[in-house]
């Protein structure tokens, strides 16, 4: 065991993992966290707590993770390179580890022009590959970046990263994941998958590079709430591809939400059959109350208990 988190145990024992996502409040109202945790507890193995996603100011991931632990769930702390330099990141990782956070997902971070602080100065002192390398080094060698100073204590972090098979240049996407794996990534959560053919092709490339044997790949999915949402995402969100057939299916459905969930469940079954896919990362954005239903219908409940 590298970190001993529940997520690591579930994956190491060969179970098909399920993670989800929780956006902290746009303020200090921890009732928002409690409500989401109540929907998710017991239905997933761990929950990603986002770090000012889409550059909208929210409660810090580290603080929200700490509340998630108090509320009886295991968090995965997301950390983006946009807002902190290497001093702040290492300091926050010390603090997170001491607070009992044992999963981290190292991300570049959405560009700040999409958020509510467009005049900010972004940081990007490290990129996500360098961040993964730094955390691995803190955990395995007990040293800070570029330094010989020994860290006091153990930084037990199960290290995750992201991959987007739907961004370009496509041929580079598996290579980039391999680079992250070489830097020390233990698991991947992918961007939302709708284009199954392209995902299969990416997985083939991942297998050719042997990445699937080095890291656990969790396939990312987001249930569509309506045809309108599907169209909006297809048109406006860079790096997301939604095939027309899926949008048509949503448009023709009598109840869009039910159809979205049905599609999501079918996707889970399909993804489960792909060699190298070890779990699902279910990003039900502001739809946390549907996670239990989706997990149930996909046959992913009850979640395994690994000692």
């Amino acid at each position: 065991m590298k970190a001993g988190s529940n997520l690591e145990k579930v994956l190491s024992a060969g179970h098909f993992a399920l993670t989800s996502e929780l956006g902290p409040p746009k303020g200090n109202d921890i009732g928002v966290i409690r409500k989401k945790v109540d929907f998710l507890r017991g239905n997933v193995d761990a929950v990603n707590v986002t770090d000012n996603q889409t550059a909208i100011v929210r409660m810090s991931s580290i603080a929200a993770c700490s509340f998630v632990i108090q509320m009886g769930m295991e968090p995965v702390m997301q950390m983006v390179c946009r807002d902190r330099n290497r001093i702040a990141m290492q300091s926050d990782i010390f603090g997170a580890s001491a607070l009992g956070i044992h999963n981290i997902v190292c991300l570049t971070g959405d560009h700040h022009m999409f958020g509510n602080q467009v005049n900010a100065k972004n940081v990007h002192d490290l990129d996500s590959v360098q961040l993964i390398d730094m955390v691995r080094n803190m955990r395995d060698n007990h040293t800070l970046l570029g330094g010989e100073d020994k860290i006091e204590g153990d930084i037990n972090m199960f290290i995750g990263g992201a991959a987007n098979p739907f961004a370009d240049p496509f041929e580079f996407r598996a290579l980039r994941a391999a680079k992250k794996a070489a830097a020390g990534m233990d698991f991947i959560q992918t961007q939302c998958i709708y284009d199954m053919n392209r995902f299969r092709e990416w997985m083939r490339m991942m297998r050719d590079l042997g990445v699937h044997e080095k890291v656990h790949i969790l396939a990312g999915i987001t249930p569509m709430k309506s045809a309108g949402m599907a169209r909006y995402m297809a048109k406006n969100v860079s790096g997301i591809i939604i095939p027309d057939a899926l949008i048509d299916r949503m448009a023709k459905a009598q109840k869009g939400a039910d159809e979205g969930i049905k599609i999501c469940v079918e996707q889970i079954q399909e993804l489960r059959e792909i060699e190298g896919v070890h779990g699902i990362h279910l990003m039900a954005i502001e739809w946390e109350h549907m996670v239990g239903r989706i997990a149930e219908e996909a046959g992913l409940l009850p979640r395994p208990q690994v000692a």
Binding site: F114, P169, F172, L175, S238
Partner: protein
């Protein structure tokens, strides 16, 4: 070269409010090339400022000069005599030239007339684009001659983020993704293997915020 853009006339007029006689100094180097502060722009702006001031019922006397390179003290000092006779200097050189005047004429107000924007190249007539941020530690050998520090909105050193789509950056549809350019270039050079090597955390310590203004001292050239 350094690229700059003229500040709006209203802004300049507000800075010039207390003064009746100014030197409008251009620069014969970079700002001449990018048409923001050469001899021609000095003449045009001088007319413009005089008219704007006349509209406010006040005269503005403007002496025009364009030294070859305002950032070189030997050229800047050519302005010395004129500067003693004016209330202020409006400089159309880049921020470097403004500071050269400020350092050499310590009792004269020096007002910047342009915004210095970036170091870049000419893409087409009238179009310039940023290419270098003078990070002091060039990595172009690793990236096929395309700089991700100047050209990637996140300054990523190990490949494109998830927002690269069909060759374009998510922040602006007309902006090329720097990493797509790097990928294409390394592919055509037969150097794709370079993309698998991790570029380690960069030493940003070459920037002024880290060690104060950077300085080059060439012992062989100093007197």
């Amino acid at each position: 070269m350094i690229k700059a853009e003229q500040k709006p006339v209203d802004e300049l007029i507000s800075y010039l409010e207390p003064y009746n006689k100014i030197l409008l100094s251009g620069c014969g180097a970079c700002v001449t090339v990018c048409h923001s502060g050469g001899e021609k722009e000095v003449a045009l702006l001088a007319s413009c400022l005089k008219m704007a001031r006349n509209n406010r019922g006040k005269n503005l006397e403007i002496i025009e000069m364009t030294p070859a390179r305002q950032c070189e003290p030997e050229f800047a000092l050519e302005l010395a005599e004129i500067i003693t006779g004016v209330d202020a200097v409006l400089s159309l050189s880049c921020g470097v030239g403004v500071q050269t005047l400020a350092r050499n004429f310590n009792t004269t107000v020096i007002i910047p007339g342009v915004n210095t924007v970036f170091m870049g190249e000419t893409i087409a007539h009238g179009i310039w684009e940023e290419r270098c941020q003078a990070c002091g530690n060039c990595i172009l050998e690793k990236t096929g001659g395309v700089c991700p520090i100047a050209r990637c909105a996140k300054q990523l050193l190990n490949g494109p983020c998830g927002g690269s789509s069909q060759g374009k950056c998510e922040i602006k549809r007309e902006t090329d993704c720097a990493w797509q350019l790097i990928y294409d270039r390394l592919k055509s050079l037969g150097q794709l293997a370079k993309l698998s090597e991790m570029i380690p955390a960069k030493n940003w310590g070459t920037e002024s915020r880290d060690k104060g203004p950077r300085k080059i001292i060439r012992e062989d050239l100093t007197i």
